[in-house]
C-alpha cells in the first residue's frame, strides 16, 4: 500500500531564505504525488502534482518539487520564502483509484 511520510512537523525560516519541506513515499511503483497548502481556516489548495511526465515539477507561488525514485522522496522547495507562505503543507499520494492518503502535515513559519 502507498504511504507518505512528512519528516518535519514544523519548519521555521526567515523571510527571503530558502524553504525545504521533506516528504518520503513508499510504493513499489512510480506513483502520482501531490503537494497541497492550507492557510488557517481555509480549504486545501493544490500546489503542484507529479504524474511521471517530468521529475522536476513547478507549481504555483514559486514552489517546486523533485521526484527522486532512488531516494523515494518528493521534497518541496522554494528559493525565497515570503510571509504569505506561512501555512500547513501536505504531501499526498493516491490510494487506489478513488482516494488520497495524506501526510501528517508540516507547519511552515516565516519570520520577518
Amino acid at each position: 500500500a502507498q504511504s507518505v511520510t512528512q519528516l518535519d512537523s514544523h519548519v521555521s525560516v526567515s523571510e527571503g531564505t530558502p524553504v525545504l519541506l521533506r516528504c518520503n513515499y513508499s510504493s513499489s511503483y512510480s506513483p502520482s504525488l501531490f503537494w497541497y497548502v492550507q492557510h488557517p481556516n481555509k480549504g486545501l489548495q493544490l500546489l503542484l502534482k507529479y504524474t511521471s511526465a517530468a521529475t522536476l515539477v513547478k507549481g504555483i507561488n514559486g514552489f517546486e518539487a523533485e521526484f527522486k525514485k532512488s531516494e523515494t522522496s518528493f521534497h518541496l522547495t522554494k528559493p525565497s520564502a515570503h510571509m504569505s507562505d506561512a501555512a500547513e503543507y501536505f504531501c499526498v499520494a493516491p490510494e487506489g483509484t478513488d482516494k488520497l492518503i495524506f501526510g501528517t502535515g508540516t507547519r511552515l513559519q516565516v519570520f520577518p
Binding site: K42, G43, L44, D98, L100
Partner: protein, 113 residues
C-alpha cells in the same frame, strides 16, 4: 472552470441537535465527491466518498451520514451531534475513474457546545 461551494462557513450547535452541511460543485459532471474532517491540530480524516448518485462509501463508523441526492450535491448529516463532532469539515471533488488530485471547498467550522 469548476467551482466548489460549502455552506455554512461556520456553525455553532448544541449537543444533541441535528446537522446538515451541504456541498455543491459547478462546472463538471459525474465527479467523485468527498467529505473530510480535520480536528484541531490533527490531519485530515476521510469520512465518506461517493462515485455516483446514491453511492456512498463510509470510511469511519460514527455519528454521521452522507447522501448524494444529485450528481453535484453532497450532504453531510447527523441526527444528534456529539462534542467530538466538532471540527473543520471539508468537501472535495475529483475527476472520476483514476488516481486524480482532489479540489477542496472552503470548509465549514463546526463547534458543538
Amino acid at each position: 472552470s469548476q467551482t466548489i461551494h460549502q455552506w455554512p462557513a461556520t456553525l455553532v450547535q448544541p449537543v444533541g441537535s441535528p446537522l446538515s452541511l451541504e456541498c455543491t460543485v459547478e462546472g463538471t459532471s459525474n465527479p467523485n465527491l468527498y467529505w473530510y474532517r480535520q480536528a484541531a491540530g490533527r490531519g485530515l480524516q476521510l469520512l465518506f466518498y461517493s462515485v455516483g448518485i446514491g453511492q456512498i462509501s463510509s470510511e469511519v463508523p460514527q455519528n454521521l451520514s452522507a447522501s448524494r441526492p444529485q450528481d453535484r450535491q453532497f450532504i453531510l448529516s447527523s441526527k444528534k451531534l456529539l462534542l467530538s463532532d466538532s471540527g473543520f469539515y471539508l468537501c472535495a471533488w475529483s475527476v472520476t475513474g483514476g488516481a486524480y488530485e482532489q479540489y477542496f471547498g472552503p470548509g465549514t467550522r463546526l463547534t458543538v457546545t
